[in-house]
Symmetry: C2
């Protein structure tokens, strides 16, 4: 399916594939952890591929990065300390740092090469990397969480690749127990959770694992993401306390977004009928 | 991009392509109007292709058919007479007829072969074709609307192919004027309006044409649709009266849906930030 003109991601287990027309290969390397490719596309700007999977494009990353950050930040009463596990393209970090109340944002991605390439090919996503509140670490996020002290973080954002390869350990009960141990009293976790159309069982297993680990509340959010299988993506929140949306703060936010706003926040929380039944 | 194993729709002008893994070609013909193909896929059930574009699959058509019908039906105070322009696969007709208050549902698709093939390969979508309230006509929908008497319909659903080929005339001011002329006092029109990510200008032009034709109110709805370009689709409503959602009727509906419910209705109405700005 890959020709000189198109890059195709075959999500083989789902029987679907998505392609973007490419005009140039900009870079290719094997890092210590993953195979990385950067293309210039005809209509989506630059495109990063990790291990054959589309990760981020210039044109449509705003859906994912905004929805991985702002809903969770506005669902916490006062998030000051944020960790991003994964997120090496720095787009989630940029969104998190738009919140002036955030005092510290630590990005922990095992693969420094992802960030170095993002700085070149997705420089707009990296524009807050020099913010004094930002701390970029290139180490194992699973170990980072395991070794953390109690009450050391308010919000953990798991912005990872699919649950195979380096990210597999981020989707299990043991990791969630470690998150609970280091989260503050009203702390919460938000994690990308694939497509509810194609990977419903994964979301069911994740939420079970979150519950078994001791998170009393789970909430899945839905949003478009053209680049990912089915074009419809999700994030799942696990929280220690009941979620309460700071709608006034959101309505009066002092920063720009492209997709997210108060109505979109509420829309993302709406549970499709088949999804409700799967959890009934 | 088409191989013996995958069917690929290249939405060439958007620089994107979507593919489904196929296991068998079930049918192919040139009707009087269009080129029709039916495939069996590995994970999406059966798949209908019209003029090279993916139209409907067994697995994911519920998003589209539910969102083309129920929001508009619950936004009208008492819809009794419904016309479906296009919709030859009969999936929208089936959803419309779930509403007991609907007394007459006329489906007007120019290509009878689409319906005859749907009866064979998507029989579940055709299960209400024998309902005494259903009337299937295989004639030109544009002419049907032009020739209609005043106050002869409460809701017009335009469930058409893309605005090229036979469907082109359904996306213009003249057609919308003809709709206004035959709609009842509180009547409304709902029309598939492509992807807000890929075809924003089309939606802007449609809404301008609706307004210029004399519809005082427009509202665009958003929903996932894996099979269509970007995986994120829209429908645009034009109405004579202000829209008022019959939320109680929706909450107490006496039929099953797979995606749609009260929360999803409200979610679909949420306007993304970039979309609001485009219409500001």
């Amino acid at each position: 399916m890959n020709s000189s003109e198109w890059f195709t991601e075959q999500a083989a287990s789902t029987g679907t594939a998505f392609s973007l027309k490419i005009t140039k290969k900009l870079h290719e390397e094997q890092s210590d952890f993953q195979h990385l490719e950067i293309y210039e596309t005809e209509t989506f700007g630059n495109l990063m591929i990790i291990d054959g999977c589309t990760m981020v494009s210039t044109r449509d990353n705003f859906f994912y990065h905004e929805m991985m950050s702002h809903p969770a930040l506005f669902l916490h009463s006062n998030p000051k300390r944020v960790w991003i596990i994964g997120g090496g393209d720095c787009g989630t970090l940029r969104e998190v740092l738009k919140h002036k109340g955030v005092e510290q944002a630590v990005q922990i991605d095992i693969d420094e090469r992802v960030t170095r390439l993002a700085e070149i090919y997705f420089s707009e996503l990296c524009e807050s990397n020099d913010d004094p509140r930002a701390d970029l670490k290139f180490i194992d996020g699973i170990k980072w969480v395991k070794d953390a002290a109690p009450n050391s973080v308010d919000l953990i954002i798991v912005d990872s690749t699919d649950p195979i390869g380096p990210a597999e350990g981020l989707f299990g009960e043991e990791f969630y127990r470690d998150c609970i141990a280091c989260l503050s009293e009203n702390g919460l976790l938000v994690q990308q959770s694939e497509s509810a159309l194609l990977h419903l069982n994964l979301i069911i297993e994740m939420r079970d694992a979150m519950k078994n680990a001791g998170f009393p509340h789970q909430q899945t959010l839905f949003f478009p993401q053209c680049l990912y299988p089915s074009g419809w993506w999700s994030a799942t929140i696990a929280s220690k306390a009941e979620l309460a949306f700071r709608a006034n703060d959101c309505a009066n936010k002092d920063f720009e977004t492209t997709y997210y706003n108060v109505d979109i926040h509420n829309a993302a929380m709406a549970q499709p009928e088949f999804f409700k039944k799967a959890f009934a």
